[in-house]
């Protein structure tokens, strides 16, 4: 730190006339590769050199799933941030909530700036008035990946550029088969991705859309959209040429394709290319999506924008131009980390390198004329989340009626859009209302305590009480300022509507709306069920395992000490590491667990990629971390009075009877302790799911805290997130209360005596 300061000071001294001295750009990037990261660093240093005295600080999002959480935190925190990278689907939200600065004029003032240098994707960051708010970093149209070798084996040609739905169906029929003759299909025509973004292109091809042109109403229930959904369902159900499993969230759906067990995989974007980096077992390639009535595909894109907290909009705009300029874009082309938006880079040998798969890389550029952006409005992500389960049901479930499901998606979306519209008209909360809440809660808590205290009979001396209060002072400050005050504010927020992108002065009063919403929020219900299932499965199983292990370990021996150490170790690991390890242990295709199960002839489930197995996967993971409870039990077991067990043995009780009637009752206080802590912890599962699944597949692992987090920071709804937090608190409070109340009947405290 000091060396850095010294360096900075020296730099200042050396260049006393630096025109940009004392100015700083804070840039948030989100790089997933080291090569591109180092280019960014280089661009920053070059920019500094071109602007003497300027300091460019480059920050990485650093989150686990890469959803730009950190830039949202920084915007919420009104922290200086000059450039940030966002997803194009978020642009609508950021723009609508006044989170971005219009840099159109700054861009056009830059020497050499020309829209014609870019491929035709700039509209993604263009507002309705035609002004540019940002420039692309990398983009990809949705395409189909396919297995050239598999097609060749089936005697089929690779698809032509203007192939159709019927062609797809025909090829899929020809490649779907049972290769080992066990009566089960093990080679599929298509591994179909089916989250909303990937389904939208089909709808467009059928001539439909998801939202009407004013973006105020869902059109997914209309005939054209239904036709697309029915076609997909036909592939999956009637024709059975598309695979059911391994078709969940994009980050996991490539398994079947990687294993060479499907001909087509998509619609997906360019990101798969570098995931298939090690895939050399067969030749793979890309093709445009087959056309329906029209040719159409969607574009996914990220780019750089200037948030409202920037203090240097002009410099920031210049830096945005650098970031999406040739330096970065050529590197992108070189390392295959995305499709460059810079035209020259995209058409260069670096990108279209013929020696590197896929052979038809040009497809990514060729489909651009028919490619469109997804609807750009506030909370596209929320709409995706709302439709997710219905969409999966419509496509995957045997029993779903497509039209019915589409109608429900439409209803949900409409209700949400109406709510959003209504929200904008809610009255603003008076300035300082939240601050007042905080202060009132703190003072109220103090006053309540003082009143309560004055009702108690005096005990001890005033100086004792003074001493005690000074001893408690640090804790009390923490309790009041970090628990009571914030809890009150969050309670107040649960009656409000507020996006963390807006300034804190724009909190709106929403009455009980958030609380009423709980009743109709399917995601919340799913999440509640998932959380409760997890907690009620992991806690009793964990306790039983912990108790059993403690029972085995209670007699000290070398082996017992070793095993105790091993069993306890996982409990001290970060959930991030636990998740990382299990992610690979449970990998359905390459994971160790399924490998071992395979050796004994069991086809392992898809674990974290399969809806019914996801909660069991987390339970399994939690069982690995059962060491803490085990230690508590062990300590309690070793502290037991052995004479009681001896007495029972003399009375003729067998091992089970001794355990059941002598040991267990004595352990009951510890059991209660572990039960309460376990439930509290179980209901708060977050980090594992955040790192491992991000809530998927479907909503199957969208546990309450994760949902709460997403609601607040991804769907930008702090009010509802606060409501969810309070629901969680209420649930935990109830359970603990019930446990403690009923515990009198089953918890036996050893008699204590004091003269």
């Amino acid at each position: 730190m000091s060396a850095w300061l010294l360096g900075a000071a020296l730099a200042l001294l050396a260049e006393p006339e630096a025109p940009y001295a004392g100015r700083e750009l804070v840039v948030m990037v989100d790089e997933k590769s080291f090569e591109s990261w180092s280019v960014l660093e280089q661009i920053a240093r070059d920019f500094e050199a071109a602007h003497p005295g300027l300091v460019v600080r480059v920050i990485d999002q650093g989150g686990a799933v890469g959803q730009q959480d950190k830039s949202r935190f920084m915007l919420t925190g009104d922290l200086p941030l000059d450039v940030t990278r966002i997803d194009v689907t978020e642009f609508g939200a950021f723009h609508a909530q006044g989170a971005l600065i219009d840099i159109d004029a700054h861009l056009r003032a830059l020497p050499g700036f020309d829209e014609a240098n870019y491929l035709d994707v700039l509209d993604g960051f263009r507002a309705a008035d035609g002004h540019l708010f940002g420039l692309p970093s990398t983009f990809t149209p949705y395409v189909m990946y396919f297995n050239r070798d598999l097609l060749a084996r089936a005697g089929l040609e690779p698809p032509q550029p203007n192939w159709t739905w019927d062609d797809l169906l025909a090829v899929a029929r020809a490649t779907t088969r049972d290769t080992d003759g066990d009566g089960r299909i093990d080679q599929w025509g298509i591994s179909l991705t089916q989250w909303l973004q990937a389904v939208v292109p089909w709808i467009w091809q059928a001539g439909g859309d998801v939202l009407d042109p004013t973006l105020s109403r869902s059109t997914i229930g209309e005939p054209a959209a239904l036709e697309a959904l029915r076609f997909l369902r036909r592939l999956l159900h009637e024709e059975r040429v598309a695979s059911f499993d391994a078709t969940f969230e994009n980050q996991y759906s490539q398994g079947l394709f990687q294993a060479g067990r499907c001909a087509f995989y998509g619609p997906v974007g360019y990101w798969e290319t570098y995931r298939f980096k090690y895939l050399t077992e067969f030749e793979w390639d890309v093709a445009p999506l087959p056309r329906g009535k029209h040719a159409a595909t969607a574009i996914a894109m990220t780019g750089y924008v200037v948030p409202r907290t920037s203090r240097e909009p002009a410099l920031a705009a210049a830096f945005v131009a650098e970031l999406s300029g040739p330096k970065y874009q050529y590197t992108l082309a070189e390392i295959g980390n995305g499709v460059p938006a810079w035209k020259a880079a995209a058409t260069s040998e670096s990108f279209l390198d013929p020696r590197r798969a896929p052979r038809s890389e040009n497809v990514f550029l060729d489909v651009l004329p028919e490619a469109r952006f997804l609807p750009s409005l506030a909370n596209w992500r929320k709409i995706e989340a709302l439709c997710q389960s219905e969409l999966q049901g419509a496509l995957l479930s045997e029993t779903y009626d497509v039209a019915e499901a589409a109608r429900r998606m439409q209803e949900k979306t409409d209700a949400f859009l109406a709510g959003e519209a209504r929200r904008a008209n809610l009255p603003l909360l008076p300035r300082f209302a939240l601050e007042a809440c905080f202060a009132l809660a703190v003072l109220g808590a103090l006053a309540a305590w003082i009143v309560r205290r004055s009702r108690e009979p005096r005990r001890g001396f005033a100086s004792d009480a003074r001493g005690a209060l000074t001893l408690l002072a640090p804790w009390a400050v923490g309790f009041l300022c970090l628990f009571v005050g914030p809890a009150a504010v969050s309670f107040a927020l649960s009656f409000c509507a507020w996006s963390p992108l807006e300034s804190i002065e724009r909190v709106r009063f929403a009455g009980f709306e958030n609380w009423f919403r709980l009743a109709s929020d399917d995601t919340f219900h799913t999440s509640l069920v998932a959380t409760a299932t997890y907690a009620f499965a992991s806690v009793p199983l964990g306790l039983a395992l912990a108790l059993w292990l403690a029972w085995l370990l209670r007699r000290e021996s070398t082996l017992a000490v070793c095993v105790r150490t091993i069993v306890y170790l996982p409990a001290i690991l970060s959930p991030v590491i636990v998740a990382a390890t299990w992610r690979f242990l449970l990998d359905p295709d390459r994971g160790f667990v399924n490998h071992v199960l395979g050796l004994v002839g069991i086809a392992g489930p898809a674990w974290t990629r399969s809806e019914p197995w996801i909660v069991p996967s987390f339970v399994l993971m939690s069982l690995w971390s059962v060491g803490a409870q085990m230690l508590v039990f062990l300590a309690a077991l070793q502290a037991l009075d052995p004479t009681l067990e001896e007495a029972a043995r003399v009375d003729g009780a067998g091992p089970w009877a001794r355990f059941r009637h002598v040991v267990l009752p004595q352990l009951s206080p510890v059991l209660l302790f572990n039960l309460v802590l376990g439930l509290v912890g179980g209901f708060q599962i977050f980090a594992q799911a955040y790192v491992l699944t991000g809530g998927g597949p479907g909503d199957a692992s969208r546990f309450l805290v994760l949902y709460l987090y997403e609601t607040g920071f991804r769907h930008l709804d702090m009010g509802y997130a606060s409501t969810l937090a309070w629901v969680l608190f209420a649930i935990l409070g109830c359970f603990c209360w019930v446990l403690v109340k009923t515990s009198k009947n089953w918890v036996h405290y050893a008699a204590r005596s004091r003269g």
Partner: protein, 272 residues
């Protein structure tokens, strides 16, 4: 087979099952890039220790990450031990009006999910200008942010004979003097336990750094590790090597302080 040998067999099997993920982690972290999952045992023939070097290199500024994490951890430990023992002592050993209500508050905060207070806390720290610094990470611990430890200390102090305080009181010591000269020296086992738990908590904390730390020079190890995991083209082998590096201090601390650990857990287990 006798009950005893059944017992031993069960122990051995349980130990092996629990050890398996560790072995897996280590094996894969030493395997040649791209081969770890397919043949985790490749590491045995030809361990690739350079995975570790590469992983550290790629995490970027390991020294700085380590120093940051260590700083946060040490400050947290000192703060947590002092504040929680102070509060636990007052709640256990001094009789004053309103005490039971305060203890109920401690218990209630144990139930309060972190997320309930996260957003307003964030706004508070923003008002205080502490965001993107270590303040939000260490202040809650300095201010006794972990009610569980207050609870543990209280239980521990309750287990000491009250006559010690009474004697000190008659000898002329006030509450602070009793705390400092009598209670704190006697609470050494508990202090060690809380220190270790705090170490693990601070070392492994993911959420708080994620929310509050932005600048590269402020990042902590878990944050860097999570960022590392997210990167698409980080090889599994490197990712697990980095994980192994981050978890090593925890394992080390555990082995060194195993006795203290067990003692602390015993207190937690025995006093309810």
């Amino acid at each position: 087979m006798s009950a005893r040998s059944w017992n031993l067999a069960a122990l051995a099997v349980a130990g092996a099952l629990f050890a398996l993920p560790f072995v897996f982690l280590l094996a894969v972290s030493l395997a040649p890039e791209g081969r770890g999952l397919a043949e985790p045992l490749a590491a045995l023939r030809d361990p690739h220790f350079e995975n570790y070097r590469l992983a550290l290199e790629r995490m970027g500024g390991f020294g700085r990450l380590f120093a940051n994490t260590l700083f946060v951890t040490v400050v947290s430990i000192v703060g947590q031990c002092l504040t929680c023992s102070l509060a636990g002592f007052a709640l256990a050993r001094i009789s004053f009006r309103g005490r039971d209500v305060l203890f109920a508050c401690v218990l209630a905060t144990m139930m309060l999910p972190e997320q309930v207070t996260a957003i307003p806390r964030f706004l508070l720290f923003r008002e205080l200008g502490l965001v993107d610094g270590f303040g939000p990470l260490v202040l809650p611990t300095i201010l006794g942010g972990a009610p569980f430890f207050v609870f543990l200390f209280r239980q521990y102090f309750l287990s000491l004979p009250p006559e010690l305080d009474e004697a000190a009181r008659l000898d002329g010591a006030g509450p602070w003097r009793i705390y400092w000269s009598i209670a704190l020296p006697l609470a050494k086992p508990m202090l060690a336990t809380v220190a270790i738990f705090t170490f693990l908590g601070a070392w492994n904390d993911f959420w708080t750094p994620l929310v509050y730390l932005y600048s590269d020079e402020n990042r902590t190890l878990t944050l860097a590790l999570a960022g590392f995991q997210r990167s698409f083209n980080v090889a599994v082998e490197h990712m697990l090597a980095a994980s192994a590096v981050v978890l090593a201090p925890c394992v080390l601390v555990y082995f060194v302080a195993q006795k203290v650990f067990l003692r602390g857990v015993r207190v937690a287990a025995s006093k309810h």
